[in-house]
Amino acid sequence: MKNKRVLTGKYFMMGNIACAEGALAAGCELAAGYPITPASEIANRLAERLPQVGGIFLQMEDEISSIAAIIGASWTGKKVMTATSGPGISLMLENIGFAVGVETPCVIVNVQRGAPTTGMPTAGVTGDMVQPKRGSHGDYEIIALCPASPQEMFDHTVIAFNLAEKYRVPVFVLADAFVGHMREEVVIPEAEKIPIAYRKVPEPGTDPLKIKGFLDEDVAPMPLFGRGFRAHVTSSCHDEYGRRNLSDLPALDNFVRKLSNKILKHKKDIVMVEKDYQGAEIVLVSYGAVSRAAKTAVQFGREQGLPVGLLRLITPWPFPEEELAEMAQQVKKVIVLENNLGQLYPYIKAAAAPFSEVYFLPPQVIGEIHDPEYILGRIREVL
């Protein structure tokens, strides 16, 4: 295992460990974090593994400095990540906005737990679904992925690193305690079969005055530190060259729109959903751990002759409204399943309701994945 980035093979592995191994396979060179249940195994594993491949794990004084340190390291060209749970994300939010504002590639793993506040640390509750998109102040877009298995903890972490590099944006892996602590088969492919992306950087020797390093809807090359670009990087309102402008509203308009459009313009490339609703009249929409119960319910339902299908959101952000609308036009009814009181439901409803009836089904007990029989009962009621 020593000195190897990619541990090719088949394992019975915990989701959080698979996440750490996915980070290494994707090229992570520096991680910083602060211990928190139920995400700590990721930090533990990275602390053991990163130094073996010449990388660095920093245990910081809090989550605020964890995200700050990885943003700083990202500006030196390193691939970086941090892993935490809800309370840690709450502390990171200001600097998450900073990372968005200065277009910094970084991966942020949130192994969600029972909330609000200190809540119930070991309970798997996807209660932070809107927070990465709306938690930091101002309008902005990020990318988020929702793994549903230890295998996807590996796969999605790799994808997260690649999307972060490609779009110079924080990419979230929105896991929860179920998926993080679940042990299942994880297959780690051979290194050469894992696609790896790298951020664009200005040509060495480019005149610093000519580098447009920011606010390009097709992603500007990143004027990394230490390469003679003399980059002026400020999260205050700035122009394409990084020059601060605190007085002209059109400059603010340009700053806000370009940052968001950079992601929205490329939604087709980013958004991923799993579709299985051919010929269905009623579709279960879900994500993450709950989608496992939805799949079982669909399987049981079909065995019983019910016209039921499934749509799983792999990327809840940017929000896949086109995919939802397309589905809603083909079916009669939609049931949204979430292990919370309906966090993505209003967004899903807004996209699907013009075309079909939309219902929400919370779990019987918050923190308990829906029983497939309970889901089937609701399907029969709605039909």
């Binding site: 020593k2 000195n3 520096l30 910083a32 053991e48 130094p51 073996q52 010449g54 660095i56 920093l58 910081m60 004084e61 809090d62 605020i64 400095s65 700050a68 340190a69 990885i70 943003i71 700083g72 390291a73 990202s74 500006w75 030196t76 060209g77 390193k78 970086v80 200001e94 600097n95 900073f98 200065v102 610093p208 005055l209 530190f225 230490g226 003679g228 670009f229 003399r230 980059a231 002026h232 990087v233 400020t234 999260s235 205050s236 020059r243 601060r244």
Partner: protein, 277 residues
């Protein structure tokens, strides 16, 4: 007649034509001391990455210095700087920020990076007030002083930031006022070459917010006061605490050799890779 150009002008970012500093601000003195130190060491700004927080003094390198600079969130520059130093161990990383940024909202990062003894230079411009937001009390504001948020006088004890950083474990700690420009420049030079966390506190005048609100007067009056109140740490050692009241102890407060974080990380990496036990 030939055009007169300031000898340090070549370090200023092209296109910058003015300053956001108020008349009499100490920022210019400190900015020059930093650039002189770099110049006298025969280094260039390409040897550096600057990191700043929020506040007037954070604007010294951003945008004025023609250098790689990260202008960060309030209180966090040292935490960002740690990540930058990890990624670019061969570059010099320097933080300039104020007492509010580094010692109030960012106090935790100051303590812990002094403890880590990560090689970087932190220059704290201590004007004892929140200048940018309009003269509110800082953790460094002298007891009893009237400010925008303490109209009846402060009721909190001020923080000695340098003593805090010494206690936390920094390698090099010095304190000067903007009156002792040459000594300040010499300390910055020493800090740049120090293998460890170097902290330089500069007591600096804010005539517009501190001076006007507290009745301390103009920039010139404040500098005169610094001259009169300053006492070198060596001379201070001869005086009693009572005699030192209301004095500014200046000089090199600490210069010591302690394990430096990056050096220790390299050892850990070698151990993890099985190169040493």
């Amino acid at each position: 007649m030939s055009e007169l150009i300031h000898p340090l002008h070549r370090y200023i970012r092209p296109g910058i034509t003015g300053t956001t500093n108020c008349p009499g601000c100490g920022n210019g003195i400190v900015a020059q001391a930093i650039l002189r130190a770099i110049d006298e060491l025969n280094m260039t700004l390409d040897d550096f990455v600057f990191v700043t927080g929020i506040g007037c003094s954070a604007w010294i390198p951003s945008p004025f210095f023609n250098v790689d600079v990260l202008h960060t969130t309030h209180g966090r520059p040292i935490a960002f700087a740690l990540g930058i130093k990890m990624g670019l161990p061969g570059k010099k990383v320097m933080v300039t920020s104020g007492d509010g940024d580094l010692a109030a909202i960012g106090g935790n990062h100051l303590i812990h990076n002094a403890r880590r003894n990560i090689e970087m230079v932190v220059i704290c411009l201590n004007n004892s007030i929140y200048g940018m937001t309009g003269g509110q009390a800082a953790p460094t504001t002298p007891f009893g002083l009237k400010t925008a948020t303490t109209p009846y006088g402060t009721y909190e004890n001020p923080l000695d930031i340098s003593q805090l950083v010494i206690a936390a474990g920094a390698s090099l700690v010095a304190r000067w006022t903007t009156y002792q420009v040459r000594q300040l420049t010499a300390s910055i030079k020493k800090a740049i070459n120090k293998k460890g966390f170097s902290f330089i506190e500069v007591i600096t005048q804010c005539p517009v917010q501190f001076g006007r609100k507290t009745g301390s007067g103009s920039a010139v009056q404040m500098l005169k006061e610094y001259k009169e109140k300053s006492i070198n740490i060596k001379d201070a050692a001869q005086l009693t605490p009572a005699e030192l009241q209301n004095r500014i102890i200046v000089g090199e407060l600490v210069d010591r050799e302690l394990p430096e974080m990056l050096t220790e990380i390299k050892k850990i990496q070698a151990r993890a890779q099985g190169e040493e036990k």
